[in-house]
């Protein structure tokens, strides 16, 4: 089994940096092992103690298991970019959020402006207990 080093919030396989949420997914599936610099073995729960990471990871896993491709959405103002077809441009910029959260309108507008200008749509992935509700946003010229 491949050994991955966790150092400074980054996962390394030899000299390659691995995508954070993909490593968590493979870790949960027991396809890799993760160790810290002191050679302590880390399991998935070590990372999911952080509520934000847990929320984001569960969305990553949800889409990955449905056959979507995901990457970081950082450059587009979101958490993930989601591809329906990896050969095409990504369709959505996903923002996982809890149902009780509120959105700042300026943040909403900024994210949507970036998404629109790059031909994507913002997708709020709303966690409601154990369910997800997906709200896709698109600018409408009226």
């Amino acid at each position: 089994m491949k050994r991955v080093l966790y150092k400074d919030n980054i996962f390394l396989l030899e000299d390659n940096v691995l995508y954070f949420y993909e490593v968590l997914y493979l870790l949960e599936k027991n396809e890799i092992e993760v160790y810290d610099e002191k050679n302590n073995k880390l399991d998935i729960n070590y990372f999911l103690k952080d509520e934000k990471i847990k929320l984001y990871y569960n969305i990553y896993k949800y889409f990955r298991e449905k056959g979507y491709h995901l990457g970081t959405g950082l450059k587009f103002g979101g958490i993930f970019r989601i591809y329906e077809d990896i050969k095409e441009h990504s369709k959505w910029v996903a923002i996982p959020i809890n149902i009780n959260e509120k959105i700042d309108i300026y943040d909403f507008l900024a994210k949507n402006r970036v998404a629109h200008s790059t031909r994507k749509r913002i997708l709020y992935c709303v966690k409601d207990n154990n369910n997800y509700i997906f709200l896709e946003v698109r600018w409408k010229k009226l």
């Binding site: 889409f63 449905k66 959020i97 809890n98 149902i99 009780n100 959260e101 509120k102 959105i103 700042d104 309108i105 300026y106 909403f108 507008l109 949507n112 997708l123 709020y124 709303v126 509700i133 997906f134 709200l135 896709e136 946003v137 698109r138 600018w139 409408k140 010229k141 009226l142």
Partner: protein
């Protein structure tokens, strides 16, 4: 054009049905009358189409009916109406129709000011209580410009 006289009873605004086309098919027809919401009345007053006893202008109306007037709804109604859309205001909603027949609903509109927060739960309640999978979010800025976003509930 001579102004049409509108009557008010217990915060309900009523016009004779014959004026429906003259005020651009605003309001809801109930038998021989048109029932107008306060925001619709304000729009017609601003346009100079109607007159209400004791009200000389736009500001008079706002002062007198401030407790029943929702300015967010008014701004959205005014903006879309001025762009040629047909709308209704009912049960706390603004309904945007495909055309003047007001048969096909395009959107239920959710208005919000730029300095407010958008509560996810409120949006979902708005959709669920009306059995909708899409709404139109209208964000009103401090210069009274409005930007619109369609929000679709997807089943992925």
């Amino acid at each position: 054009m001579e102004k049409i006289i509108i009557k008010e009873f217990n915060n309900k605004f009523i016009l004779n049905k014959e004026f429906y086309d003259k005020i651009g098919r605003i309001g809801k027809i109930d038998k021989d009358y048109i029932i107008l919401e306060p925001e619709e009345v304000l729009y017609c007053i601003k346009k100079g189409w109607i007159k209400l006893e004791g009200i000389n202008n736009f500001l008079d109306f706002i002062k007198k009916y401030k407790n029943i007037l929702n300015m967010k709804k008014f701004y959205v109604f005014e903006d879309l109406r001025n762009k040629g859309y047909y709308l209704d205001i009912e049960n706390d909603s603004i309904i945007l129709y495909a055309d003047y027949k007001k048969e096909k609903v395009l959107y239920y509109v959710y208005p919000i000011y730029e300095n407010e927060f958008l509560y996810i739960k409120d949006i979902l309640n708005f959709m669920d209580s009306r059995n909708l999978n899409k709404i139109l979010l209208a964000i009103i800025d401090i210069e009274n410009d409005i930007v619109y976003y369609e929000i679709n509930k997807l089943f992925l």
